[in-house]
Amino acid sequence: MKKTTSEHITIALPKGRVLKEAISLFKKIGIKPKGVLTDSRKLIFEDKDANAQFMIIRAQDVPTYVEYGAADMGIVGKDVLLEQQRDIYEPLDLGIGFCRMVVAEPKKLRRIDNPQHWTRIRVATKYPNITMKYFLSKGIQVEIIKLYGSIELAPILGLSERIVDLVSTGETLRKNGLVEVEEIMKVTSKLIVNRAALKTKPNRIKEIIERLQMALTQK
């Protein structure tokens, strides 16, 4: 690999299901730090040849690191972006990590329930802001139970009748006796960029965006 003189770049990637796809995307454009998928305790991985480093952090933290400039760019799902509303650029929909955000309720309830009659409901979710906006825009009062995981448990234990959560295959819903009522949005992951990084390292950032875009069309 030839020596590069381009400016150093820090990229924040989310732990979890999107990480593998994100890494293979960057690999296609020549940024490939060693050990990202094998060393689970390290948080920072350097690729000296490409003059870039990966930071592996929780998805919810990616927009924060990017907005404050601790990372120049990052990859994160639209669910997190919409929930947090940060002041950042969002140049590319990478099409990876596809899933859907839905409203779900127990199968038994669904048989007798008519969502058009909802006026006031209680919903458990990891996404209080999106949930609040979604139901308020339909004129439905919503009481939100904010949970950090295992949302499907809430209806089983009577914490709430309904949930708002991400589904990909629908298997988790099914196993917990829940069915989808309506879809709030489709979710994929986006490339996000810090504003100051784009202004102070325009050529480097532009090059990465363009090459990622090319890698996406070749897919």
Binding site: D93, T200, I209
Partner: protein, 330 residues
Amino acid sequence: MTDKSLNISLPQGVRDMLPEEAEKARYVEETIVSVLEKNGFRRVITPLLEYIDVLSLGLGAELQDKIFKFVDPVSGKIIAIRPDITPQVARMVSTRMRDYPLPIKLYYNENILRCEEPRGGLPSELLQIGAEYIGEDSPDADAEVIATAVEAIKKVGVRDFKIDIGHIGFFKGILEDIKASKDIKKKIKDAVLIKDNSSLQEVLSSVREVRGDNAIKILSDLPSLFGDKGVIDKLKSQVKNETAIKALDDLASIINMLEKKKLKNYITIDLGEVRGFDYYTGVIFEGFTKGFGRAILKGGRYNNLLEKYGYPCPATGFAFNTENVIAAVK
């Protein structure tokens, strides 16, 4: 020692500055102010409170819902704590300074209060030092204001910074050349605002041009039209819209003047910057420094503002976020 039995707290969004930090703030303020005064700007002091209907005349849409307001118990009128100083300066000049010869060059060093969404709508206090250049509509005036900003940043001791320059007239002009509803145009603007290529291409796929003159191609390129002045040169032959051509010409002459002042290395261009779409009328710019994620200054041309207070008069200016400058100086 803090008395644990007392609950001595502050509302969110405001804070004290201890001597060490206050000294640093004083250094930054004095340095910037000295540069502004050297360049002929004179200080004005505006009041903390305004009637909301008076203040709202001159506020951009982005600030309208960030105003901290309360009802005056005596008159029953709604009073606002200023979220921006520029409308106050516009009001002052329009109502009290019409006999001053133009151009009028003013500066201020004040605190403002904004209710920011990330804090759940709670107000936060910000310090601003700003300069306004009133009464001249020319690239010369814009270049002079930008050069003054650069001089101040250098003098304060911030290294490795860029002034990113755009022109709201470019986007407005190109937008004239497509057939689309208000709603679609807003979607286009929102996508351009965050350089969202993917959403932008999707919206544009349903849009047609007025005259078949490249408008859609240029709009779809907007998120990547940033970098050095090569961006402008590359576009010149493609653009047919008059407003957009005028914007490119203005930008080219501003850059030309800044290059003559040996400021070339501090300048970047971004034609896809559309912040303050309804407020600014011409050149817009922001100052960024490496390793500090947020802007340290913002500014631009606002030719319609003074007219809202009854005095049709062009103007341009900028404001430093003083605390961001202090943080960037280290």
